[in-house]
């Protein structure tokens, strides 16, 4: 260090009101830094009530200008909160923003420790580490890249549709990719929507049509994203468009092929296993687009080589058995993930008997039962297809709020259970019981709906149902499903015989959410939902710039919230598009080719293919546009030829020594 130019470091210790000062003796920390770290180059150490306030920032700016500071350490909160604030302050005063370090003494010290002496000592070490490190920081320039104005929206449920429409209406192009043959998502399966009981199809279909016909939207159904490369502003996306075996140019959506197809298949997706479709099908009448798809697994022609009934009857010769999967490449600047949820598999709660006891239904089965376009034309009947139940039990929290299954509250099930109670009551006049742990009817007009269902005479029992059984103990129970539960308000165990049980199943992350997260470079929470950047202040952005999450992909939520999120993400995307270019963190690896021995150890380490070997020179090169800055290659290079800006060996080793107060020895 002796041969280096002595840096002039300013240290600023924040009180954060009492958040830090309550546990850390901030005055002592500043005094100590000034005295003990003086030899390192600390020329000034101050403490202040709120460093992030404009007065606090001005303090730093003034010192940079007047004292000629060349480095700044702010001991305050986590860099994830205010790093940007103080970097901007430095920039305003003419100092390169990357010569500022944040030492976190709030999240990592004052909030997690109680003993003031210990917390103060630890804060000193943290400041010491930051001072040592900042001296090794180098001035860096932000990398500016242009933003591609196109956007990819993945998932054509209500959240994805909303998001796509907002962006398209603003005049920018959207690729809307949907895995199923039609957009619409879960909402297309529902009959009524709570709490207003609007017909789901009536409010959804116009949006679907708008998305299907919008000049700025390229609709890619029966398609999946298979690869994503690049970074914010410049994503290169590969999409597999599965063969429909129907020529979309020629098909008029007349439906004759479906009519003529002799193969009936249980529809596990749209009809939730309660109804049938053909091997060539559109999932429902209002499907967008209206072109059918051929289910290759079940098509008689694909199985036996004969049939082709659909081809024979198609008036426009649109059936094409030779169609192949297509691969499309599109470039987009931003990506919105609206991949939705899977329904909890109620068979896992074996004590509720779903799958064993015929008249136990899941929520989605009930949605189809009660839907006028469903397999029973909206008649609420038991599994025999004809008997109307005289008594119905609705069980809440199935698979939710349960450590054996999903830990979290699925948000929608209480209201869903109330909606079911209303529909059963209205259509059958049956006695309805709702079994709940806690009734959660937050949000506008929800509790009013609860009141309405109470008024209708639904019987509420507070208790998580223990089991549903057909083992009768007496005559009254014979031939019924018996719901056994503790009525916790009465403090007694009850056995309530009913004809039909509806399980208000919870929502869970898509079975492939982890893979999708990996594909797009975003993470999942413990429960498997995509992780937002900030749970309160940045709920639709992710840790990966340019990737947004909306609807149930981010966590369980109802329709209004999903729509709001879809719109919110669009605002964020439009903000990016209108900026035209974006500054990237200049944290990149680079190879000093003088030192590179050409050993190629690093070559296989980069998952982003940023590392290439130049055969002619027998050295390795890193493409800064592709490098994401993880630093794995830096750590691996045996020759020490690769360096990583922002997290160089010198910076980290200096920080280690600083944290361990080894730097004091050098004085």
């Amino acid at each position: 260090m002796s041969e280096k130019k002595q840096e002039r470091v300013g240290v600023y210790v924040c009180h954060c009101g009492t958040n830090i000062a309550g546990t850390v003796d901030v005055v002592d920390v500043a005094k100590w830094a000034q005295e003990k770290l003086g030899p390192q180059g600390v020329v000034i150490a101050r403490e202040y009530k709120f460093m992030c306030s404009s007065l606090g920032q001005e303090l730093i700016e003034k010192d940079i200008k007047e004292l000629g500071l060349t480095r700044v350490v702010v001991a305050a909160c986590s860099p994830h909160l205010h790093e940007k604030t103080f970097r901007t302050a430095a920039k305003n005063a003419g100092l390169n923003p990357y010569l500022v370090e944040l030492a976190s003494i709030r999240e990592q010290v004052s909030w997690v420790h109680t003993d003031k002496a210990v917390a103060t000592a630890k804060s000193k070490a943290v400041v010491s580490g930051a001072v040592s490190r900042v001296i090794e920081n180098r001035a860096l320039d932000e990398i500016k890249v242009p933003i591609n104005p196109n956007t990819l929206v993945v998932g054509g449920g209500i959240a994805g549709i909303q998001s796509a429409l907002e962006i398209a209406n603003a005049g920018f192009h959207v690729y809307l990719v949907e895995r199923e043959p039609s957009i619409g998502g879960h909402m297309a399966q529902f009959d009524k929507t709570f709490p207003t009981l609007d017909c789901s199809a009536c409010i959804l279909t116009p949006r679907m049509v708008e998305a299907g016909t919008h000049p700025n939207i390229t609709l890619l159904t029966w398609s999946e994203v298979t690869n994503v490369a690049g970074y914010v502003g410049n994503f290169h996306v590969t999409i597999k468009k599965k063969a429909r075996f129907v020529n979309e140019e020629l098909c008029t959506g007349c439906g004759i092929c479906q009519e003529k197809c002799p193969k009936k298949v249980i529809d596990d997706v749209y009809e939730a296993g309660l109804g049938y479709r053909k091997a060539v099908y559109t999932p429902f009448a209002q499907a967008v687009p209206n072109f059918p798809v051929m289910d290759k697994e079940n098509c008689t022609y694909f199985i036996k080589g004969t049939c082709k009934a659909c081809e024979k009857f198609c008036p426009t010769n649109a059936i094409d058995f030779t169609q192949q999967d297509q691969t499309l490449n599109v470039d987009v600047g931003n990506i919105v993930l609206a991949t939705g949820y899977d329904l909890f598999d109620a068979r896992r709660v074996s004590n509720y008997g779903y799958g064993r006891l015929p008249n136990v239904f899941t929520s989605i089965e009930f949605e189809r039962l009660s839907n006028a376009a469903g397999p029973t034309n909206g008649n609420i009947v038991m599994r025999d297809g004809k008997t109307t139940p005289k008594s119905v039990g609705i069980i809440h929290c199935v698979g939710s709020r349960d450590k054996n299954f999903n830990n979290y509250c699925s948000v929608i099930c209480c209201m869903q259970g109330l909606k079911f109670a209303h529909l059963v009551h209205e259509r059958t006049g049956a006695t309805v019981y709702n079994f709940y742990i806690d009734m959660r009817t937050a949000y506008k007009a929800y509790d009013e709906f609860y009141q309405r269902v109470l008024e209708e005479g639904t019987l509420f029992v507070r208790g998580k149902v223990a089991e549903v059984t057909d083992a009768a103990r007496n005559e009254r129970e014979k031939g019924k499903l018996i719901i056994q539960t503790e009525d916790t308000l009465a403090g007694k165990q009850r056995r309530i015989p009913v004809d039909m049980v509806i399980l208000s199943s919870g929502l869970q992350p898509r079975h492939d959410a982890k893979d999708v997260g990996k594909l797009f470079g975003i993470s999942c929470s413990m429960d498997g939902w995509f992780t937002e950047k900030h749970p309160k202040l940045d709920p639709v952005a992710t840790m990966t710039e340019g990737i947004y999450i909306v609807g149930c992909a981010q966590g369980p939520k109802d329709i209004p919230s999903s729509v709001a999120q879809g719109a919110a993400a669009s605002a964020r995307v439009l903000d990016k598009i209108l900026q035209k270019e974006i500054a990237l963190e200049p944290i990149k690896a680079s190879v000093n080719q003088e030192m590179c021995s050409g050993c190629r150890i690093c070559n296989g380490l980069c998952p982003f293919n940023a590392i290439a070997f130049i055969e002619d020179d027998k050295v390795t090169e890193i493409n800064p546009a592709l490098c994401q800055g993880c630093g794995t290659c830096v750590a691996a290079c045996p020759a020490g030829a690769i360096s990583g800006t922002g997290f160089s060996n010198e910076q980290i080793i200096a920080q280690i020594d600083g944290l361990l107060l080894k730097n004091l020895e050098l004085a």
Binding site: H80, E107, A121, A125, G129, K514, C524, T531, A635, L661
Partner: protein, 165 residues
């Protein structure tokens, strides 16, 4: 030395995307944990050069905690596996050098696992407390010019005092 009064010093390496955020979350939720760990933020556990660990141990740390995203959840796709490989190798190297390999621990903690981060930290401190001080690179004369009195007030009071005595 009485291990009950020994306060170990531990360096913790964290990943910017998961474990550092887990420690942020532990802070936001005001979870209390042992104060003996001092954190260094890296962009990824894959950035961890094993020499950083050796440097920390030789500069006075009694243990090193390496944290990263759960397998399969790496922000950079798979670099935490490389960290795992290096960690396993490093433990063998340490053993060869006569240092208890348990002084280095690998913990997976996602950004949502503030509670896990806090609990693992506390547990690790207890484990190192049982192992006792490392005193590596400190016993052989060398740079003994440290202001010991100063250190004793800010840094590991009991262990340092006894080491001098």
């Amino acid at each position: 030395m009485n291990n009950d009064t020994f306060e170990p010093t531990i360096i913790g390496f964290t990943c910017n995307w998961c474990s550092y955020r887990a420690s942020d979350l532990a802070g936001t939720a005001r979870m209390k944990y042992a104060p003996n760990v001092r954190l260094i933020r890296l962009m990824c556990s894959g950035r961890l050069d094993p020499t950083f660990v050796l440097r920390a141990l030789s500069s006075g740390a009694d243990g090193v905690m390496i944290t990263g995203c759960h397998p399969g959840e790496c922000h950079y796709i798979e670099q935490n596996y490389k960290a795992l490989r290096r960690f396993l190798l490093l433990r063998r190297v340490l053993k060869g050098m006569g240092i208890e390999p348990e002084r280095v621990k690998l913990v997976w903690a996602s950004a949502a696992e503030g509670a896990k981060f806090a609990a693992e930290t506390t547990t690790f401190v207890e484990e190192i407390r049982k192992l006792g001080p490392l005193n590596w690179g400190k016993t052989d004369g060398g740079s003994q010019t440290v202001d010991r009195e100063e250190l004793s007030t800010v840094h590991r009071p009991s262990s340092e005092m006894e080491a001098i005595a």
